[in-house]
C-alpha cells in the first residue's frame, strides 16, 4: 500500500511540477488589503510563490502576518485585492480550500480522540469515504513518524507530536500550498530540527508551496527560499533570502587597535575604496566602518572586514578586537522593521 502511495506521490509531484511550470506560481497575491473598523491591518500586499519553494512570512507583532494568513486561507475576506491558489481565484473559497492545507498557530485538537480518528474525520470532511480516509491517514501518520502512536489519545501527545499531527492533517487532501503558522513554537531544538526537515521534504518531494510564518529568523534563513517582510501591514521587502540579506545597509565592522595606533589605522581605512568611517577613532581604540555606498553592493560589502584587516596587517598594527554586524536576515529584519531606519528602504524590490 505504501509503495503504491509512494508511486502516487512521485507521479503527483511530477504532475505538479509540470503544472507549476506551466502556471508558474501556486500562490499569487495582488494588492491584498484588509481594513478592520477603519484601520488598515494589511495594505496592498503582493507576492507570489512557486511550487516546491518555501516562503517565509516575517514581521514584528501586529505587522499583519496572521491577518494575511487568515485571508489567504479564506477564513477572513479581503477588503481589497485578490489572490489565486493553483490558478483558482479567491472569489471561490470552497474550491480554494480543497487546494490548501493549514497548520494554524493554535492547534486546538480534541484530546479525547486518537490521532488516527482525527485524520479519518478530516479525511471524510474533505470528501473521502471512511476506508480511504483511514488509508490516507495511516500513510501520513507514518510519514510524520506518528504511526506507532496512531491509536493513542491526542491528549497524551507531546507538543512536537501535535505539530506533526497538525502537518499530517494539513496534508490529508494532497494540497498544493500549505500555510504553517509558527510551527516550531515551543519545540525543543531536536524537535525543531526534525520538523524543519519534514517541512523541507514536504516542499521538495511533493512540489508543494509552503508559506512559513515564524519569529525565529535563523530558522527562516535556514529553511526558506523566499522571504516577505511586513511592517504595519505593508511589504517592506520581498525576494529570495540572498537578495534580502544583500540589501542590508548595516554591514558594520568594528576593529579595535591600540589607542596610540588608532589615528594611523583610521587614515589607512580612509584609503580603502568604498569604505566610510562611521565613527572616528576613539580613545579605547575602536574604529567603526561600513560600506560607503547605498545598500546593494553585494559581495563587496561582505569583504569589507577582510580588506580592513588586510591593511592593518600590512601596516603591522596589532588587531585587538573585531566585531562584524549585519549581513544576516536578522539584521535586515531589525533594520526594516525599525521605524527610524526603515524609511530609507523605499527602493527595496517587491515582486
Amino acid at each position: 500500500m505504501l509503495q503504491k502511495s509512494q508511486a502516487g506521490a512521485q507521479a503527483g509531484a511530477a504532475d505538479r511540477a509540470d503544472h507549476a511550470q506551466a502556471t508558474s506560481h501556486v500562490l499569487r497575491v495582488e494588492g491584498l488589503g484588509k481594513v478592520f473598523d477603519g484601520r488598515s491591518a494589511v495594505k496592498d500586499l503582493s507576492f507570489s510563490l512557486q511550487a516546491g519553494r518555501i516562503l517565509g512570512l516575517l514581521g514584528p507583532n501586529g505587522a499583519g502576518k496572521t491577518t494575511t494568513i487568515r485571508m489567504l486561507t479564506t477564513v477572513l475576506e479581503p477588503t481589497s485585492g485578490a489572490f489565486w491558489i493553483d490558478g483558482l481565484a479567491s472569489s471561490r473559497p470552497d474550491a480554494i480550500r480543497r487546494r490548501m492545507g493549514v497548520l494554524p498557530e493554535s492547534l486546538g485538537f480534541p484530546k479525547k480522540i486518537t490521532g488516527l480518528e482525527l485524520m479519518v474525520y478530516y479525511g471524510q470532511l474533505y470528501g473521502f469515504d471512511q476506508r480511504k480516509a483511514r488509508q490516507n491517514g495511516l500513510a501520513l501518520l507514518e510519514a510524520v513518524k506518528l504511526r506507532p502512536r496512531a491509536h493513542s489519545l491526542i491528549g497524551s501527545y507531546s507538543r512536537g507530536m501535535r505539530q506533526r499531527l497538525g502537518i499530517a492533517r494539513a496534508l490529508i487532501h494532497d494540497p498544493v500550498v500549505i500555510f504553517l503558522d509558527e510551527p516550531t513554537l515551543g519545540l525543543d531544538p531536536r524537535g525543531q530540527k526534525e520538523l524543519l526537515a519534514l517541512i523541507r521534504s514536504i516542499a521538495r518531494e511533493r512540489m508543494i508551496g509552503v508559506v512559513f510564518c515564524s519569529h525565529d529568523l535563523p530558522e527562516v534563513s535556514t529553511l526558506c527560499d523566499d522571504v516577505v517582510i511586513l511592517r504595519e501591514g505593508t511589504v517592506v521587502a520581498a525576494g529570495t533570502v540572498g537578495e534580502i540579506v544583500r540589501k542590508s545597509r548595516g554591514n558594520v565592522v568594528r576593529i579595535r587597535v591600540p589607542a596610540q595606533a588608532a589615528q594611523e589605522a583610521a587614515q589607512l581605512f580612509h584609503g580603502i575604496s568604498g569604505v566610510m568611517l562611521v565613527s572616528p577613532a576613539e580613545e579605547s581604540g575602536w574604529i567603526e566602518a561600513r560600506p560607503a555606498d547605498a545598500p546593494g553592493d553585494g559581495e563587496q560589502d561582505r569583504l569589507l572586514g577582510n580588506r580592513m584587516l588586510d591593511v592593518l596587517i600590512r601596516a603591522q598594527i596589532p588587531v585587538l578586537g573585531l566585531q562584524a554586524e549585519g549581513g544576516s536576515l536578522q539584521d535586515v529584519f531589525f533594520e526594516l522593521t525599525d521605524e527610524e531606519h526603515a524609511d530609507g528602504y523605499a527602493s527595496v524590490s517587491v515582486h
Binding site: L2, S5, Q6, G8, A9, G12, A13, R70, T73, T74, V75, L76, D94, A95, R97, R98, M100, V102, P104, S106, L107, G108, F109, P110, K112, I113, T114, Y121, Y122, G123, Q124, L125, Y126, G127, F128, D129, Q130, K132, Q135, N136, A139, L140, A143, V144, K145, H151, S152, L153, R169, L171, I172, H173, D174, E194, A197, L198, S201, I202, E205, R206
Partner: protein
C-alpha cells in the same frame, strides 16, 4: 526523516454528508468525553430524589398523582432545556476559545452543515433525559393511559422548547467572541423566561402580565400541561397556549440557520443591528415594565338588581366512587323573582368530612371549579354539568354556591347554596411507592455503570487497536 507518503488520490467512494460527520464528532465529544452523560446522571439523581420525596414523604403525598406527574414532567423539561442551553451556548464560542474552530472552517464544507451537525448533537441529551424521566413517570403514574398522556404531551412540548432554546443558545454562541459571554447571555435570557413563572399571581393577572404569560414559551407550556394533566382540561380548551412554544423553535432555528453562513466566523461578532449598546438594557427594562404593570380593574359588572326568587339544587345526594374514577352530576338553577338577574357565578366547594372539614382544592378534582352563566328568565330553569375526578379516599361533601354578580364595587349580593352531595371515595391502590425506591436508586446507578462501561470499552478498544 521518513520519506513522505502522499495520500492516495484515488477517486473517493461515497462520502458521508458533512452534517453527519460533524454530528458524529460532536456526539463522541459530548458522550464519550463525558459532558453530556454527566449532566444526564445529575439530572437522573435530581429526578430520583424528587420522585422518592413525592411518593413517600407523608406531607408531599398529599399531592394528587396527576400533580406529581405534572411536576416531574415540568422538571424534566426545565432541566432538559437547561442542558440544551449549556451545550448550545458552548458549541461554537467554546470551539473558538479552544482554537479548534479554525481547522473546521478551513474544511470545504458548508457552514450550515457544520451548524446543523452541532445543533443535532446539542439536543441529543434531551431524548436521554426524557427516557430517564419516563421511568419515573411510569412508577408514579396511577394508570398507563395517564402515563402515556403525560409522556406524549411533555415529550412533544419539551422537544419544542429544547429545540427552541438550544437554537437560541447556539445563535448567541455564533455571535459571541468568548464562551463566557455566550453562557452568560444564554443563562440570563433563560432566567428571564423562568423567573416570571415563579412570580406571585398578581404580577401575572394584569393585561401585561397575561400577555407576558402568553408570550413566554416556558410559562405557556407549564400552563398547558398543568391544565390538561392536573385539571382535566381538554386540548381544545388549551390549544391557544401553544402559540409561543411553536413560534419559538421556528424563530430561533430560522435565525440560527439564516445567520450560519455569515455568523460562523473565527472571531464571532453580533450582526450590526445588535451592536447598539442601548438595545439590551432597553429590552430588559421593557420586559420588567411589562411585568410590573398594575392589575387593571375588573371589567364593569352587570346590573344585579334584586336577588330573591333565585334557587339552586343538585341532582344527586349520595355517591360512592373509587379513587381515580370520574363521574358527572348536574345542578339546576331556577329564577322566580321579579327583577331580572344578568349573570350568576357558580362556584364548587368540596369539604373533607373526615378531616374536621378541611377544604379540598376543587381545581385538583375538576376541570371546572367555577362557571359563569346567564340567569334563567323568570319562571325558567337552566342546568349545569359538573365533572369530578376524586383523588383521595374519604367522605366528602360537595356543594355549589350561586352568586348573583354585584352591580358595582360598593354593592354586594346574597349567595345561595345547594344541598350537599355526599361523596364516599373508596381507595383503589394505583400508586406503587415501593417501586419508586428501586427506580430512584437504579436509574442513576445504572447510568453511572453505563458511563464506566462506555469508558472501559473505549479504553479497551484503544488498547486493542494500539497493539
Amino acid at each position: 526523516m521518513a520519506t513522505l507518503q502522499s495520500p492516495s488520490t484515488d477517486p473517493p467512494g461515497r462520502p458521508r454528508p458533512a452534517w453527519r460527520l460533524v454530528c458524529q464528532r460532536e456526539l463522541t465529544d459530548l458522550w464519550l468525553g463525558g459532558r453530556a452523560i454527566v449532566l444526564v446522571i445529575l439530572f437522573s439523581l435530581l429526578l430520583a430524589v424528587m420522585a422518592f420525596l413525592l411518593a413517600t414523604n407523608q406531607e408531599m403525598s398529599l399531592m394528587p398523582p396527576r400533580e406529581m406527574l405534572f411536576l416531574t414532567m415540568q422538571t424534566t423539561i426545565g432541566i432538559g432545556l437547561f442542558i440544551g442551553l449549556l451545550i448550545g451556548a458552548d458549541s461554537i464560542s467554546g470551539e473558538r476559545e479552544r482554537a479548534s474552530l479554525e481547522a473546521l472552517l478551513l474544511a470545504p464544507v458548508s457552514r450550515r452543515q457544520i451548524v446543523a451537525g452541532k445543533f443535532l448533537a446539542a439536543i441529543s441529551p434531551w431524548p436521554a433525559a426524557l427516557a430517564v424521566s419516563a421511568i419515573f413517570l411510569a412508577v408514579l403514574s396511577p394508570s398507563s393511559e395517564l402515563f402515556l398522556q403525560v409522556l406524549l404531551l411533555g415529550g412533544v412540548l419539551g422537544t419544542l422548547l429544547v429545540v427552541g432554546y438550544t437554537a437560541f443558545a447556539m445563535v448567541v454562541s455564533l455571535w459571541s467572541s468568548s464562551n463566557r459571554t455566550s453562557l452568560f447571555v444564554s443563562l440570563v435570557v433563560y432566567l428571564l423566561f423562568v423567573i416570571p413563572t415563579q412570580f406571585p399571581g398578581t404580577a401575572q393577572t394584569g393585561f401585561m402580565g397575561r400577555l407576558v404569560k402568553r408570550i413566554n414559551p416556558i410559562e405557556s407550556v407549564n400552563q398547558f400541561l398543568e391544565k390538561v394533566i392536573v385539571n382535566n382540561r381538554t386540548f381544545e380548551e388549551m390549544w391557544d397556549w401553544l402559540a409561543a412554544p411553536v413560534i419559538l423553535p421556528l424563530l430561533t432555528c430560522a435565525l440560527l440557520f439564516g445567520f450560519a453562513r455569515s455568523g460562523l466566523t473565527l472571531e464571532g461578532h453580533p450582526p450590526k443591528f445588535l451592536r447598539f449598546r442601548w438595545a439590551q438594557p432597553a429590552a430588559a427594562m421593557l420586559f420588567c415594565a411589562a411585568l410590573a404593570q398594575p392589575v387593571p380593574p375588573a371589567l364593569a359588572a352587570g346590573e344585579a338588581d334584586g336577588q330573591s326568587g333565585l334557587s339552586i339544587s343538585v341532582g344527586t345526594e349520595y355517591l360512592e366512587v373509587k379513587t381515580g374514577e370520574e363521574f358527572d352530576f348536574t345542578t339546576t338553577l331556577r329564577f322566580d323573582g321579579e327583577d331580572e338577574l344578568p349573570v350568576i357565578i357558580l362556584s364548587m366547594n368540596i369539604v373533607n368530612l373526615e378531616a374536621d372539614g378541611d377544604p379540598v382544592d376543587p381545581e385538583d378534582w375538576s376541570p371546572e371549579r367555577s362557571m359563569v352563566v346567564e340567569a334563567p328568565a323568570r319562571g325558567e330553569t337552566s342546568q349545569q354539568e359538573w365533572t369530578i375526578h376524586p383523588i383521595f379516599e374519604g367522605d366528602y361533601l360537595i356543594y355549589i354556591v350561586a352568586i348573583p354578580e354585584v352591580a358595582d364595587e360598593e354593592s354586594t349580593s346574597r349567595p345561595i347554596v345547594t344541598q350537599g352531595l355526599h361523596l364516599s371515595v373508596v381507595h383503589e391502590p394505583h400508586l406503587n411507592p415501593g417501586g419508586v425506591l428501586p427506580a430512584s436508586l437504579g436509574v442513576p446507578g445504572g447510568l453511572i455503570l453505563a458511563l464506566f462501561a462506555v469508558l472501559w470499552l473505549r479504553r479497551r478498544s484503544l488498547r486493542t487497536q494500539g497493539t
